[in-house]
Homo-oligomer: 297 residues x 2
């Protein structure tokens, strides 16, 4: 594949495995490559991760939306995770050979089709958002499915695509382009949770730290240490090395050292190479210098 876009639709079903299987099987038939899907019965929600080129990723996203709208009835849905739609959110992530702008374009095309074909109102979010209030998903989702019947009538919550009428069983959906999210943790050689919490506050955006970083301090009882657990929402603007070096530096003031870094899930090759370039002073180090990339290009 010369171009790779990742799509991670979240659907509001995490218990009925026949429903999940049907959605995933129909998705696979569209020609995309499904990398992963996982369901949480408590959340009553499933997250599907697939990749494709521009055309197939659009087909795949639309197929998931169609099946979710057909198979899921939010009037009967209960779970601990907030949700506003049968297909709740559809993010598109540029991985290779495509720009963020391309993904914004894709999100708009898919959003338009969902509204027109499925009668589900669409909100563009993240990089695709049309107002500042719609950038962050929790702002859009506030009130959830049940609250949207009123919320949608407000002028500031007029959908980006579709009429301001909530789909009776499938609700509304957020569609948008965003950067790859990296789940990254750093373990510290102390059992003092207060230190991890202080460091988390110093690094995260919400407490005045680095933009694009979410962080909290956690205790790891089994390992006998504490952890700064983070999400990097934009690894291009908040590169891994910078996050690591700041946490390490802040830990040192308490006489605490880094035990190890931990990656949850995956990261793009670019994210790894960008950080290696920092440490080894490569002016630029991109995937076209990596043998495996040449092989697959």
């Amino acid at each position: 594949m010369k171009e790779i876009i990742e799509c991670i639709p979240n659907v509001s079903e995490g218990r009925r495995s026949d429903v999940i299987n049907e959605i995933v099987q129909n998705l696979q038939k569209t020609g995309v490559k499904v990398l992963d899907y996982s369901s949480d019965p408590d959340h009553n929600r499933s997250v599907i991760t697939f990749v494709g080129d521009k055309e197939t990723v659009k087909k795949g996203a639309l197929q998931v939306a169609k099946d979710a709208v057909r198979l899921i009835d939010l009037t009967k849905h209960h779970g601990t995770h907030p949700r506003m739609g049968a297909v709740d959110v559809i993010p598109f992530v540029p991985i290779k050979g495509v720009t963020m702008k391309d993904c914004v374009e894709i999100s708009k095309e898919v959003g338009k089709e969902i509204a027109e074909e499925l009668n589900v109102p669409v909100y563009l979010y993240a990089e695709s958002a049309t107002t500042p209030q719609r950038v962050k998903l929790p702002n859009i989702r506030e009130g959830e499915f049940e609250g949207f019947f009123e919320k949608i009538k407000k002028p500031e919550w007029k959908p980006d695509f579709g009429k301001p009428e909530v789909h009776p069983t499938a609700g509304v959906v957020a569609v948008g382009a965003r950067e790859f999210l990296i789940a990254y943790n750093i373990n510290l050689n102390t059992t003092d949770l207060k230190i991890a919490k202080k460091i988390a506050r110093s690094i995260r955006e919400s407490s005045g730290g680095l933009r694009y970083i979410q962080a909290k301090g956690m205790e790891l009882k089994d390992k006998g240490c504490v952890q700064v657990s983070m999400n990097i929402l934009n690894y291009k603007k908040a590169p891994l090395y910078r996050v690591f070096e700041i946490v390490k530096m802040e830990a040192e003031r308490y006489g605490v050292n880094v035990l190890e870094s931990e990656l949850i899930g995956l990261m793009p090759m670019d994210a790894a190479l960008k950080s290696l370039a920092f440490y080894m002073q490569f002016p630029k180090l991109t995937s076209d210098r990596i043998v495996e990339s040449k092989i697959y290009e």
Copy 2:
């Protein structure tokens, strides 16, 4: 491809483009992926780089050997690069999903076939060598094509495969498994060539430095600085970060800083991840944590 082996046959023809093209075209028909080929008219030699799985890489290597033996006559070959065979050397490099042992096995199978089918005596070299004298290619190649008619009669130079009779036009060939070779340079913020030479001596194996490192000091007149120019013959045992940190450390004693790192050609993803793991304290960081690898696996 689940398994990837790289093969880099060197053939003794760098001037007649029709011959090179015929070799490359026949190679492509075997199902391998040709990543690169480059010819040097002064050396009168071409280097072909291709990849495949275990079966196709063997077919590809044998095809190159067949065509080189058929099309190249060493009795009429002149060039600045030493050579002993129409196909001079065939290295196999493990890239993904295969071990060095697998590549040694492949080199033996290919060597056996070349001797039997083409009547060209074969020397196993590098990781495949059967005696310490045969590990390093220059030892085997000493005397070149012309000298081999006498050399091959000595008991210590009995070929690993085939009779001790030099092929009249195609000579002999070295076949073996080795690690990926990384060409890596470090530029320093000084114009004093003596410093680059001193650092090169401190890092390279031949002067008592790190094993698997070849290094020399060079002047970069255009850039107005000097360079420590290196080959890393085994990046698994002499990882990039260690080479970089030692050069940086040695430079500091002269009040000199690293300007930048420079990679010539490609490196395997593993080499990059191994060094990033060092700097960011990942206990382990392998390609299965990289999105692009999951996509292609």
